[in-house]
């Protein structure tokens, strides 16, 4: 009731997870989704071989063909390597492709044709993307050219066989589930787990210290009500709040960002509740140590940030250095978000996430066992 009268609070309840999703989702590159229309200049210095510039023309056509499909680059032309460098330095270009003067000549004389890629080193993300895109263009072109050459050497071969001669091995990627998960699919379960658990762990101390500060806590304490039921009530309220936020995130993820849930949605909620359970104890301990709201909030920040980054919510744990991985293996959020991800993205059932479940339950029980005596002592101070 109190929450509904606080309009701003209510709005923030919805907006906070939205922000989190939108920011993280859009900023972090996820394949071809987030990088598009990079300005790239093409410099063709090819002088040709006995008047023919076919190889460089083919290269440019292929490049344009691929780019039309992905829309990743905006191609322009420039006159020289120096001009490209200058434009990159000015920030007008993200990179350039230079076809040197001996390109056609090399190819016709049986040598490798080399193309120079100019990258903007100040932006490694984009630079890496250009490199990978261009590499695939070259790959495709090289294959095509080789295919033609093989075919011209042995006209009996058809195109497919010629390809098999040039490139005997091919890779086809297949996920556990159909479809191509985006970064949202990766990050949404983590954010859900984080929001719900944090709301209990941090909301509890803030709520209780706030009541202590305005004095209403005394009103409850002088009533013949068990202290634990006060705590339980507060916990339930925060859990409900966290779950509402979790549902909002889920709805946003599905509705706006096209995330799909592969596994059971009931299991998703069961996992969120389990996550809450594993955090309640920690929340109570923090509650017992904080005297006022400000401290509670500060403590919350201190605990929240490392958790956010170390639990694999935003970045895969495997990316981190070894000592950080060790730390992250002690955080319950790691297991909750990993289990949630398995269920949501990979469609896992209970058996596949049993390790995570056991760890979460154990963590919850241990923390509560520590928390209750601490809380009792705090209340009778």
């Amino acid at each position: 009731m109190e929450l509904f009268r606080n309009r701003l609070g209510l709005v923030l309840l919805v907006v906070m997870p939205l922000f989190m999703m939108v920011m993280v989702g859009f900023i972090y590159p996820s394949g071809g989704v987030s990088i598009s229309n990079m300005p790239i200049a093409v410099v063709n210095e090819d002088t040709g071989f006995s008047g023919s510039t076919i190889p460089s023309q083919t290269f440019i056509t292929t490049l344009q063909g691929i780019n039309n499909q992905t829309g990743m680059m905006t191609l322009t032309t420039a006159s020289s390597l120096d001009e490209v460098k200058d434009l990159v330095q000015r920030g007008e270009l993200s990179g350039g492709i230079v076809i040197p003067s001996n390109f056609s000549q090399s190819i016709y004389s049986g040598q490798q044709g080399t193309v120079i890629i100019v990258t903007d080193q100040s932006n490694p993300q984009i630079s890496a993307t250009i490199q990978s895109v261009l590499t695939s263009v070259f790959d495709e072109m090289g294959t095509m050219m080789a295919q033609q050459q093989v075919q011209s050497m042995n006209p009996a071969l058809n195109a497919t066989s010629a390809l098999a001669v040039v490139k005997p091995l091919n890779v086809q990627t297949q996920g556990v589930v159909p479809g191509n998960p985006s970064y949202f699919d990766f990050v949404a379960p983590g954010i859900m787990a984080m929001t719900v658990m944090m709301s209990v762990m941090t909301g509890l101390p803030v709520a209780i210290s706030q009541e202590k500060e305005i004095g209403t806590m005394d009103g409850m304490m002088v009533a013949p009500v068990n202290r634990l039921s006060i705590l339980l009530g507060k916990t339930l309220a925060q859990t409900a709040r966290g779950l509402i936020q979790g549902v909002i995130i889920l709805a946003l993820a599905i509705g706006i960002f096209g995330v799909t849930i592969q596994g059971s949605i009931l299991l998703v909620f069961a996992l969120l509740l389990l996550g809450v359970f594993s955090f309640v104890g920690l929340g109570i301990v923090i509650t017992s140590f904080t005297k006022d709201q400000e401290t509670a909030q500060m403590l919350m920040m201190t605990v929240m940030f490392p958790m956010m980054f170390l639990s694999g919510v935003f970045f895969p744990i495997q990316q981190m250095p070894a000592f950080m991985q060790t730390i992250s293996s002690f955080l319950p959020l790691t297991y909750a978000s990993s289990a949630l991800r398995k269920v949501m993205v990979l469609g896992a059932g209970v058996p596949q996430i049993s390790t995570e479940l056991i760890i979460l339950v154990a963590f919850g029980i241990v923390m509560i066992a520590i928390a209750l005596p601490v809380f009792r002592r705090m209340m009778t101070r």
Partner: protein, 339 residues
């Protein structure tokens, strides 16, 4: 246990770290009595009240309410008591009625009974009109009335009031005092209140415990406390000097027959003296310093004088004192609660 004693406190002590807030206090409160704890801020009144109302665990000593120990039988004690704390125990975003329902539900009162009682209580403090208004929009006086009736939801046998008139205008203070008096007379509710307002103590309390530095210095009825002064050869003098200077005040304070001096405004002094020559001595001092006495009167002792006489300092905060410290700088007294 004496059957007429509803509260018995024995050697109550509370320390916060090295600081002793309440130092070995013992007293009893009779059923149906209005009992006051009077003293300056930080004297340990609120802490005493919190220990009696089970909110704080005594470091040493015990207290019983209605025969129940406040630590061992805290649940039973809580059923018997209501508390009006200095911080108002109400949710600003809830309406008057919602607030009372919320706190009423904590006492397991059946819904019909509770609804009826809430209506009665709101009527009693003239808030019926505002029952569906959010409490946050109320004036301080209205909020305090809410705060008081909230404590009465469980029809407590003992009502604890912590500084009930703090921050209220005179009219609201009178209303609260009359309400408490009425409650005491009609329902027989035992009332324990803390205050640093002499009027509250004087007008309300059957017996007053004067508390200072965590100890009860004196405990008696208002009349008897005043006799401490009027019984002895102590007098209260109100002295008005047209050209009052600091020099004159210092000189008066230096007199052997003077116990305490308080400056009331730029012209007048409030002096507690003893001995027959006091009058003459003061007049001599003022005249010898070319002071023009415009008026000099012998006053009836008030509780304030009693306090001043017993403790040597005023009840009001040192910050309110217009004259420098009388007994050297007061020792540092941490304030446990923020005002």
């Amino acid at each position: 246990m004496d059957a007429t004693n509803i509260i018995e406190a024995k050697n109550l002590t509370k320390t916060f770290g090295k600081f002793t807030a309440v130092d070995d206090i013992s007293f009893t409160v009779k059923k149906g009595e209005i009992f006051g704890l009077l003293g300056p801020n930080g004297a340990g009144k609120s802490t005493t009240l919190r220990m009696l109302s089970t909110l704080s665990r005594p470091t040493k000593g015990t207290a019983t309410i209605g025969g129940y120990d406040t630590v061992k039988n805290d649940m039973e004690v809580r059923k018997l008591i209501g508390i009006v704390s200095e911080k108002m125990i109400i949710y600003n975003r809830l309406t008057a009625k919602e607030n009372l329902f919320f706190f009423g539900n904590l006492y397991n009162i059946p819904k019909d009974t509770l609804t009826k009682r809430i209506d009665e209580l709101l009527e009693l403090v003239k808030l019926t009109k505002w029952k569906d208004t959010q409490v946050g929009t109320f004036s301080t006086g209205m909020r305090q009335r809410m705060n008081v009736v909230r404590a009465l939801l469980n029809m407590p046998q003992v009502l604890f009031l912590d500084e009930p008139t703090l921050g209220l205008d005179p009219q609201s203070s009178v209303e609260i005092r009359e309400f408490v008096k009425k409650l005491n007379q009609e329902q027989g509710t035992t009332v324990v209140l803390t205050t640093h307002m002499m009027v509250d103590a004087d007008l309300l309390c059957d017996r007053i415990a004067i508390v200072d530095h965590g100890k009860i210095i004196s405990l008696d009825t208002s009349t008897n406390l005043k006799k401490i002064i009027s019984g002895a050869d102590t007098m209260i003098i109100k002295l008005e000097v047209a050209n009052l200077t600091q020099d004159i005040i210092t000189a008066i304070r230096g007199l052997k027959c003077v116990d305490a001096v308080t400056q009331e405004n730029s012209l007048s002094l409030h002096i507690i003296v003893h001995g027959e020559e006091a009058f003459d001595n003061i007049v001599d001092i003022v005249r010898s310093r070319n002071g023009k006495i415009t008026s000099m009167a012998n006053l009836q002792p008030t509780l304030e004088d009693v306090f001043l006489h017993i403790t040597g300092h005023e009840v009001r905060d040192s910050a309110d004192q217009k004259i420098p410290m009388e007994h050297g700088p007061k020792e540092f007294r941490p304030q446990r609660r923020v005002r």
